[in-house]
């Protein structure tokens, strides 16, 4: 407590002097000078302050040593705005107890001071200021309405784990029972008849046999298939998710769904030699992905 650095003491004194309008030297002398800390406070000191003693002051007063007058920072901070009345009262009286008290207060304010303001803050200026006004609104668009929620663990995890196990079982059984096709080695000179694309492109291949390739090969898959699908949320401005409110959208999608399924099924099952129409029950299935596991021995052209 005794070793207050000179610079801090000086700064504190300057601030105090500015606040009181008295010369710095006077305040400084008063702060560090003629108040040896050993001096006991003689008198109870009835009312040096006009009714505004800092909270820490009251318990400190009865004790003889000045040490208690240096309270913990919180109390010091509380006491800080108040030093003016004390020091105004101080110079005339100049008593031992007063100056001791004053020194204690200064120590308190000094000990609190270095923490509070930034190092380059101008003296006597309050360091908090208005930077900006922020609207009380979150960055993200949170629309928290009270909803009925359950814990992910265990309620959702159980459902997911079950689905995962079921899929694993399905895949394992499929893989044990059904052999993946492997035909003869690739031969650039032997074009199979018919040549079919993978099944998910067979709808497209089917379209290719009806329309000009520019339309079926490019316009349909890229324009409708990709760009069109990506644009759905921006085209469909209907905010409702109720099926009864969006009959048109549902109808369009269902047409797409059934259409592509139909085309794919035709491409898979009903296209034979030369990609001409054929009946699977009469001419066999011309689809090599199914080759090894269709039970009916219809064995097409292979």
């Amino acid at each position: 407590m005794a070793e207050i650095p000179e610079s801090l003491l000086r700064r504190s004194a300057e601030a105090k002097a500015k606040a009181l309008g008295v010369p710095v030297e006077q305040v400084l002398a008063e702060m560090k000078g003629e108040a040896p800390p050993a001096a006991p406070a003689p008198a109870p000191e009835p009312a040096p302050v006009k009714g505004t003693p800092a909270p820490a002051e009251a318990p400190a007063e009865p004790e003889p040593t000045p040490e208690p007058a240096a309270p913990e920072p919180a109390a010091a901070a509380a006491a800080e705005p108040e030093p003016s009345p004390v020091t105004v009262a101080d110079p005339p009286s100049g008593g031992n107890g007063h100056s001791g008290n004053g020194a204690g207060r200064v120590a308190a304010s000094v000990s609190a001071r270095p923490v509070a303001p930034p190092a380059n803050a101008p003296e006597g200026v309050r360091t908090q200021r208005l930077l900006t006004v922020v609207k009380a609104r979150a960055i993200q668009n949170v629309k928290a309405e009270p909803t009925d929620k359950v814990n992910t663990w265990p309620h959702l995890m159980i459902a997911e784990f079950t689905a995962l196990l079921a899929m694993t079982a399905l895949l394992l059984i499929m893989s044990v029972v059904l052999q993946a096709p492997l035909l003869e080695p690739a031969n650039f000179n032997a074009t199979p008849n018919p040549s079919k694309a993978p099944w998910y492109f067979l709808g497209l291949q089917e379209l290719l046999s009806y329309f000009d390739p520019q339309i079926a090969g490019v316009t349909v898959p890229t324009v409708i298939g990709l760009i069109g699908f990506m644009m759905i949320p921006y085209v469909d401005r209907n905010p409702s998710t109720k099926p009864s409110d969006r009959k048109f959208a549902i109808m369009l999608y269902t047409i797409f769904l059934t259409g592509s399924a139909t085309l794919t099924i035709i491409g898979v099952l009903f296209r034979g030699q030369g990609f001409n129409f054929s009946y699977p029950w009469r001419d066999g299935i011309y689809f090599d992905d199914l080759k090894d596991w269709v039970p009916i021995g219809l064995g097409g052209g292979h």
Binding site: N151, T152, E160, L172, A186, P198, F201, G217, M230, Y253
Partner: protein, 264 residues
């Protein structure tokens, strides 16, 4: 759970099962397991079923924390989502695992590819099973992704604020198709060769620069040995890399856009 048969008369004779359970309990309480399991793990010693721990299970697990701690009650119902998105992701993981297995036994050269695939059925333990899983899993994934998209459409789940996630989802569908299609060539049999020939012929119909697209895809004017290497790299590295990025965005946006969509 503990069997008390051995300790009925005295305490010196304990069964093997008792000693095993005790050793397991000690292991669970050890500093090592304490450090492995994060707070709230159901495997941790002294785990109790409390709302706090239920949250910790999700929050403190690197895999589970893709999920929110709580979900809407209707979202738990299997009939709402049919788990299709999750199953697509799960199939992707299965395909990655089986694909890595297959890579050990496959060389993407015209003179070895077919023999390597054929050898999977004869020379490699579980080779045939893993190849079948990879192939059927790929077909299933195309199916689940497509059905997932249909489910989302019928629920109107692409509506604000989820528009962009729908766009990401369409890209994911495209990438799934590309992954499947590039894998189609790799067995290097007649089915692979001619399906890819037919498929890439469609790309040749792109207006203006159709031939360039086809040339870039095939590394030549038609399917050649160079195509095999190109599609192999696309299949095992390039497209998986891209699709993982888009999947990350997709899952993240599901959370950020407010979880799965509301009930109808």
């Amino acid at each position: 759970m503990r069997k008390v048969s051995g300790v009925a008369d005295g305490n010196e004779k304990t069964g093997l099962k008792d000693r095993l359970t005790e050793a397991l309990e000690n292991l669970r309480g050890s500093q090592f397991m304490e450090s492995v399991l994060r707070p709230g793990s159901p495997f941790k010693k002294g785990y109790s079923d409390s709302p706090r721990n239920r949250s910790y299970v999700i929050m403190n697990n690197v895999l589970y924390h893709l999920h929110p701690v709580k979900v809407k009650r209707h979202g738990v119902k299997l009939s709402y989502t049919l788990c299709l998105g999750g199953l697509s992701f799960f199939l992707f993981i299965l395909l990655t695992i089986t694909g890595i297995f297959l890579m050990f036994y496959y060389a993407p050269t015209a003179d070895r590819a077919y023999a390597d695939v054929a050898a999977l059925s004869t020379n490699v333990a579980f080779g045939s099973l893993v190849r079948n899983m990879h192939r059927w899993g790929a077909h299933l994934m195309v199916l689940t992704v497509f059905l997932h998209m249909s489910r989302v459409f019928y629920h109107g789940a692409y509506k604000p604020p989820r528009e962009f996630n729908w766009v990401v989802g369409v890209i994911l569908l495209l990438l799934t198709l590309l992954l499947s299609f590039t894998g189609y060539l790799l067995p290097w049999d007649q089915l692979a060769l001619w399906a890819v020939t037919v498929g890439t012929n469609m790309a040749g119909f792109v207006p203006v620069f159709g031939n360039q697209v086809k040339f870039a895809l095939l590394a030549g004017a038609e399917v050649t040995a160079g195509t095999l290497l190109r599609w192999y790299v696309l299949h095992v590295l390039f497209f998986p890399f891209i699709i993982v990025i888009f999947m990350a965005v997709h899952f993240w946006r599901v959370r950020k856009d407010g979880g799965i969509s509301g009930p109808l």
